[in-house]
């Protein structure tokens, strides 16, 4: 029996670039587990990324994000696209365990070789995604999937990390949540590229639609007059209704991004965000490693304040400009 999680990073990289599913799956496992082999793996695949359209699907719990994703995957497959799905569900903050159930709604695609579905737990990360989601998207991009769907956990007020990752973000709303929509409005309503009211056959659809229309109207009035209108679409994902219109809108958005040079700009913005996030992570653990217990004790006994303690730690960094 081969040891679990075995593999050599350059070999895994070569195989995943050839499109081998097991190799891609192993790469994502390493990324998720923060295996030291990731460094070699990522440097071997990074040059092959930057082609896939990353589509975020987000919205409150119970909005039907997984069912909607399942429906969109079918539509893309009908149009000959290869699709990967990263489905994020919450990990328990207490045990670290998780129940990842998004696949249940997408089971019909599990034996289609043109579809790769991967479930990830948030593993302590706030913001609606796992820390590994960006890198998992890179793996799928390098494997040659045309579309990478990133389905977030059910979001509340400002879990909008997906906006920094996705080229196109779909906000899924449902009738009957009323106040929930007000809540989502805060961060996400400003960010979405396509809005979908799912479960549109339910009572309250008209009211929800009107509410969204109003929000989008207010948002549009703050933009230049030639900015493309943000689509507001209806869907009944459980019955497969609305798929063609949503996939059309996603394709149109991709074209708009390309024409404006925005696709490349988004890619570079995302790369920059990722570098900074990794620096934050690394810096934090390095600083924690450097802080003598006396620093925390001094704060604890009110000898120095938290800001002064942080400044003292940061002062230990060498100041020098760094080039690639």
């Amino acid at each position: 029996m081969a040891a679990r999680s075995s593999g050599e990073p350059n070999d895994i990289a070569r195989r995943l670039l050839d499109g081998e599913i097991a190799a891609g799956a192993r790469a994502i496992r390493w990324l998720d587990d923060r295996d030291p082999r990731c460094a070699t793996l990522l440097s071997a695949i990074y040059a092959h990324t930057g082609k896939a359209q990353i589509v975020g699907v987000t919205g409150p719990p119970g909005a039907g994000k997984s069912t909607l994703t399942d429906m969109l995957v079918s539509e893309w497959r009908g149009r000959g696209k290869r699709v990967a799905v990263i489905a994020v569900d919450p990990s328990s903050p207490f045990t670290g365990g998780a129940i990842l159930g998004d696949r249940v709604r997408m089971a019909r695609h599990s034996v289609d070789p043109g579809v790769f579905i991967r479930s990830l737990g948030t593993r302590g990360q706030a913001g609606g995604l796992s820390r590994s989601t960006h890198d998992a998207a890179l793996v799928f991009d390098a494997m040659g999937y045309d579309i990478v769907v990133v389905e977030t956990v059910g979001v509340g007020q400002d879990e909008i990390d997906v906006v920094n990752l996705a080229h196109t973000t779909i906000i899924v709303a449902v009738p009957g949540l009323g106040d929930e929509i007000q809540a989502v409005k805060a961060g996400i309503m400003e960010a979405g590229d396509i809005f979908v009211v799912n479960k549109a056959d339910r009572d309250g659809y008209d009211a929800t639609h009107r509410q969204m229309e109003l929000i989008l109207h207010l948002r549009a009035s703050a933009l230049p007059p030639d900015a493309p209108a943000v689509p507001l679409l209806r869907a009944v994902a459980a019955k497969g209704e609305g798929a063609a219109e949503i996939v059309d809108a996603i394709a149109t958005h991709r074209v708009q991004l390309g024409e404006a040079g925005e696709f490349a700009r988004q890619n570079s913005r995302r790369a920059r965000e990722q570098v900074l996030a990794l620096v934050r992570d690394g810096l934090l653990s390095r600083m924690i490693g450097m802080a003598a217990d006396t620093v925390f004790e001094a704060v604890d006994t009110r000898q120095i304040d938290p800001h002064a303690a942080a400044a003292r730690l940061l002062d230990t960094l060498a100041v020098r400009k760094v080039a690639a």
């Binding site: 029996m1 081969a2 040891a3 679990r4 999680s5 075995s6 599913i21 097991a22 799956a25 192993r26 994502i28 496992r29 587990d33 923060r34 295996d35 030291p36 990731c38 460094a39 990990s91 328990s92 045990t95 670290g96 365990g97 998780a98 129940i99 990842l100 159930g101 696949r103 249940v104 709604r105 089971a107 599990s110 034996v111 790769f116 579905i117 991967r118 479930s119 737990g121 593993r123 992570d281 690394g282 653990s285 390095r286």
Partner: protein, 142 residues
């Protein structure tokens, strides 16, 4: 990478065929989650092909099959064979539910690593999986 290396056990839980009894698999799922594992549900009415494909895509360590309405002497050996053929025999294959004594040797010979029958204590299942996982990791470190 600067930050810590963490490896929770990943477990796929599935039901094969027309069996729609979900209480057992749901309880097991929650027990494993409480024990800090990542549990991936595939849903009901799965074929061995679907489970094999999901297990590979998810790169799970353990595949757990719950069976309460027979058919297991056909579907479980088939799943074990598919996993072997896909080069995924490193995954632990565990079955639980209503499995008559006389079926056990058949399933074990076909590649099912461990069988938990009705009345098994979830703590024993967790302990068994943790022990296996520890063994795996020390093997890898060696």
């Amino acid at each position: 990478m600067a930050t810590s290396y963490q490896r929770p056990l990943r477990v796929l839980l599935a039901k094969l065929g027309m069996d729609t009894h979900t209480v057992g698999v749901t309880i097991i799922g929650h027990a494993l989650r409480e024990a800090g594992m990542e549990v991936i549900f595939t849903g009901l009415k799965q074929t061995p092909e679907m489970v094999c494909s999901a297990a590979i895509q998810e790169d799970v360590d353990v595949v757990g099959i719950s069976t309460l309405s027979a058919g297991h002497t056909r579907s479980l050996p088939k799943l074990a064979r598919l996993l072997r053929e896909a080069g995924a025999e490193d995954k632990l294959l565990v079955a639980g539910g209503v499995i008559p004594e006389e079926d056990k040797p058949v399933l074990e010979a076909a590649g099912v690593d461990r069988i938990f029958t009705m009345g098994s204590d979830t703590r024993d299942i967790v302990a068994y999986l943790n022990a296996w996982w520890k063994e795996q990791q020390s093997e890898e470190a060696a």
